[in-house]
Each structure stands twice: as C-alpha cells, then as structure tokens.
Amino acid sequence: MTRAERLAGLVQRRGSIVVLALVVLIASVSFDAFPTIDNAQNIAIQSSFLAIVALGMTFVIISGGIDLSVGSVYALGGVLAAYGIQFGSLVGLLLPLVVCGAIGLLNGVLVAYGRLAPFIVTLATLLGARGLLLAITDEGSTTRLMDREDWLTQLGQGTFLGLGIPVWITIGLFAVGVVVLQRTRFGHSTLAIGGSREAAALMGLPVARNTMLLYVGSGMLAGLAGALAAAYSASGVTIVGEGLELDAIAAVVIGGTLLTGGAGTVGGTLAGVLLLRVIQNVINQVGTLSSHYQSVVSGAFLAVVVAVQSYLSRAHLRGGKR
C-alpha cells in the first residue's frame, strides 16, 4: 500500500472524527455557551445511551445484518429495570439483560439458523417487543419508579470525576468493543461474515453461531442502555425509544461502517453518536429554530455528513480496486 492509500484509508476510517472536530470547532467559535465544561458533560451523558445501543448495532451491521428492534428493546429494558428493582437491585439489572438478550436470541436464531432477512425479522420483533412492553405495563399506563437511593439508580444518576457513570460505562463498553472487533477471533470472523457470508462459511467459520451471538449482544446492549436510561431518570417510562433504531443506524453509518457489511470501526460509531448529539446541541444553541426547521436541518445535515463520508470512502476504495 502506498502512503497516499494509507492516508486515504485513515481519513476514510477517521472521517467521522474529522467532521466531528470541524463541527465542534465551528460551534465553539459561534456559541459562547458551547465550549463549556457543563455543556461537554451534558453532551457526554446524553450521548451515552444511544452510544451503547449503537455499539451493538455496529457489530450487527458489520456482519452484514441490521437490528431494527433496538428501539423497542431499549424501552422494554427500562421498564423491566424499574419493574425488577422491587425484587432487588440485582434483579433490576439482570432482568432487562436476560429478557432483552432473549429477544436478541430470537432475532439471532431466526436470522442465523432460520436464514430469514434480518431487516424483516427485527422489524417484527420491533413490534413484538413493544407489544410485550405494553402488556406488562397495563397498555402503557403504569410507570414504575426507581428508588433514588438504590445503587442501580445510582448507576444511572451518579457521577465520577465529573462525568456521569453511564458515560464511564459507555467508555468501558467501547473499549471492550474495540478489542473484541479488532483483536479477537470473534470480531475477525464478524468482519469476514460481513465481507462474504458464503466464503466465511466455506472457510469453516462458525457463521451461524457467530451471527446469532451478535444479535444477542445487540439485544443485551439495547436492554442495558434502556435500563441505564431508566435509572438515569429514575423511572421506567413506556414511551421512550421510538425511532431510536434509526438514530443508531445513522450513527453507525456516519461512523464509516459499511451497511453492506465487512468493514467498520467501533470508534467511528462513537464519533457518529457524538456528531448527532452535537448537532442537536447546536440547534438548541440557536434556540429559536421552529421544530419544523429543526427536522429539516437535521435531515439535511445527515445527508451532507454521509455524502462527505461516502466521498472520502470512495476515494479510499478507488485507490485499490482491481
């Protein structure tokens, strides 16, 4: 590889970070209230829940799949945490992980062994998980609260070194995510499966098991994010998570992961999440944009960022294609 190719590759993989840096720079110059410690702390905690969901999504997308159920699973995770905490904090933490993991397992089995298209499978579980949530909350009318003193609640609300504990959890999970994707056979196989599922199978990789585990992981991470968010707001709110899957997908793609699978980075996803959140923060900094224009601006921004990403990544690919 020539140096130019390497550089192009670097920019492609780090494109989202470059864009993020740019946006942050412009925002800092334009708005006094933007480059403050408080604001940074806010952005960090507000990004953390989406980031955890997007982490699972990154792996699923790298494997060539997609998980649309995460929004509902996230909501379900929160409700379950608030429900389970009455039987003890540990139950409150484990219940969402187990149930959401089970939904992920269902997705995984249907996709990996049933050979069904992930888009439609997870679209179905998006409905199913929401239905389950409504069923256990009396059609959504019961909101269970979480005791503020409980350590599980503190997992959402507490701070450490000025940053919310969910932020630290997110950082930890992403660190693990980086290692798993880059430095383990599991991650390596995931990349291979996304690159060519058929080839991976013929090369003797445990394609089905690996794929299934990815969906389990995605379900559990979404459930965990929901549980943390519930702890953060000390209540298992039933109306959260709608459209979260699209935010997560957008973050992953902005982060430079190919939706067709086979290539992507965990760090890029984090940058993608931060980008989405910074945009929202900037819109609030303006403070007077009507809600209609807010959507228009976010949509346009999404298109621009992804177009820039795609341009950078194609420059990279052009360097090498036979």
Partner: protein
C-alpha cells in the same frame, strides 16, 4: 420513527377573537403554595431575564401550535430579554437534553410542557442544582412541587374524561353502545381520559356498554381508519368517545361514509376544543366537546412573575374546563383555537 401528536391542556374563560387566557379554577386557591424562600431561588425581574420554554411535541397540531404561540406572545408582551425555545419531538431523552442545554445556555427560569409525567428527573435535577424555577404546564409531573418544580398549570385529564362520560350518558339517555378512540398507548393523557370516562360511565350509566377500545394514536387518519373497522363489526353502535378532537373528526368522516348520520344515529363526544370540532358541535354533528385551553402564556408568566417577585404562588393551578355544547358552541366557536 415518527411521532404522534397529542394534546392536553386546561380550559378557562376566553375572550372573543383569538381566544382567551386561562382562568384558574376558583376554590383551588387555598391549596399549598410555594415561594422563593421555600424553593430557594433568587428574586428576578422577568423583563430582562432569559427564559427557556421546552415544548414536548412538534407544533403540528392546533393544541401545540397555540401553546407555543401563546408562550412566545406573552414573553414578548412581558418583555423577556431572551426566550429560548426547544422542541423534544416526542423524545423523552431529547427533552431532558433540551432542558439541560437551555440551563447551560443561561436560562434563568423555565417553562416546561412535559412529554411524560415521569422521567424528567435529570432535567429537574439540573435546574435544582442552579436553583432555577421551573413551571410545568399542561401535564402534571410525578414529582415534589416546590422542590423539584415550582408549580403546575393545567387541567385535570381524569376530570375531562368524566365530563365527556356525563355528556355521552346524557346524549344516549343512559343506554347504548359506545366505542372509545384511545390516544397513543402509554401516554398519561390517554390513561387519564380513559379511566375518567370508563369509571364515570360505570357509575352514572351502567347500561351504556363500552364495546370497543382501540387506539387512534391521537391522529385524524388513524381515527378514521379505526372507526371504519369498528363500524363494520358493530353497526349498531350509538356513541363514540374520542380522546381528542382530531380522532373525532376522523371518526365523523368514517361514520358518514358508512351511511350513519352523526348527531342522529351516533353521538360523538371528544376532548380538546379546537375550532374544527366546535364547529361540528354548531353543525349538530357532534354532541359535545370538553375544552382544553392551550394558551398558557399569560397565566404561566403571571405565575412566574409573582413567584420571582417574592410572593407565594399556588403549587397546583388547575384550570377550569369549559364545555362546548349545542347551547353555547355557536357563540364560543370564535374563541376556540
């Protein structure tokens, strides 16, 4: 992915033309109060302050449009230096960050239209940390008044459901089959308006049978579609209770295209008081509309100003709900939003 609109609010006296400001329910004025000392905030002159308004849903239905407009207009009238507005687009997490962002941007007082009664705790904590007064409008928070927030302005949704039930019972002569078009699942407003209606109906007119409860998601097209299905399955239906005007208007279209004459064959009652629905009462197609007045601006700023100048304010300012019926609709339609 997309969000549903829903509306809530409190009704009150109104003046002609663009409609009137809200009036607090008389008799509620002797409830617990809150003042600066109790809450732990500083005196402040609103004209020269930065005030933040956090809207919960897109301004894409009459209630939200009127609510935001009313706040903006009053802020200008009071001479607020800078009014920050945000919209959570029906996402709870966004509302939390919106409020945090506004605090961070220097908001000195906040008016919040909560998306949900629970779950805003982190945002309230952030305000608490800086002793910023928070007035909540249209939906009551499950939190400690005068501690987590100053006071609440709004109406009683359970009461709205009850009054709708009373109207329906009257319209049907205490006997008949009624379908309920529910709001969005999981929404407090849906729950309260349903419970109020169902409980009251069981009490005052046990012979009124509730034969269907299906969600129309507070949207007109969904209301229409669901109504079309119900009416096929249950052609002998006598009444429709819609939990907002939009669904009621959709249901009217469905009823008419199924060959029913609304107002004669089927009685329709809804909650809201948008101009379109009140007009239908005038036209005799709807039996009654329980009003919800979204014009929180004057009352909210008045409460805020009173509080910030050091005087006590009521913790719960429940607004008196108006009712549009045959008798008054024609006169009042100009006041509807």
């Amino acid at each position: 992915a997309c969000t549903k609109s829903e509306d809530t609010g409190g009704g009150g006296g109104s003046t002609p033309g663009t409609g009137g400001a809200q009036v607090a329910q008389t008799g509620a004025a002797d409830g617990p109060t809150c003042d600066l000392e109790q809450y732990g905030a500083e005196e402040l002159d609103l004209s020269n302050a930065v005030v933040g308004f956090s809207q919960s849903e897109k301004e894409a239905n009459p209630f939200r449009i009127a609510e935001t407009e009313s706040i903006k207009a009053e802020a200008a009238a009071v001479g607020v230096k800078n009014l920050l507005t945000t919209n959570a687009n029906s996402q709870l997490n966004k509302q939390i960050s919106d409020i945090q962002d506004m605090i961070n941007k220097g908001a000195q007082a906040l008016i919040v239209a909560p998306l949900n009664s629970d779950g805003l705790e982190p945002a309230l904590d952030a305000a608490r940390a800086k002793n910023i007064p928070v007035i909540t409008v249209d939906r009551k928070l499950n939190a400690e008044p005068c501690q987590d927030y100053v006071s609440f302005l709004g109406s009683d949704f359970v009461e709205q459901g009850k009054r709708a039930a009373q109207e329906m019972a009257e319209a049907l002569g205490n006997k008949g089959k009624v379908a309920i078009l529910l709001g969005t699942s999981g929404n407090n407003v849906t729950t309260d308006r349903t419970n109020g209606f169902v409980d009251e109906m069981a009490k005052i007119a046990p012979d009124v049978e509730i034969i269907a409860q299906q969600t129309g998601e507070f949207a007109r097209d969904k209301g229409q579609q669901v109504m079309e299905q119900i009416i096929q399955a249950q052609p002998d239906i006598n009444g429709v209770y819609a939990e907002n005007d939009e669904m009621a208007l959709g249901a009217l279209v469905a009823l008419r295209s199924a060959g029913k004459v609304p107002g004669q064959d089927v009685q329709v009652v809804s909650v809201d008081g948008t101009r379109g629905a009140v007009q239908k009462v005038v036209d005799g197609e709807m039996y009654a509309v329980v009003e919800s007045n979204p014009r929180f601006g004057p009352l909210a700023f008045e409460t805020l100003q009173t509080f910030l100048s050091g005087e006590p304010v009521q913790q719960d300012i429940v607004i008196s709900d108006k009712l549009y019926t045959k008798e008054n609709a024609a006169d009042e339609v100009g006041n509807a939003y």
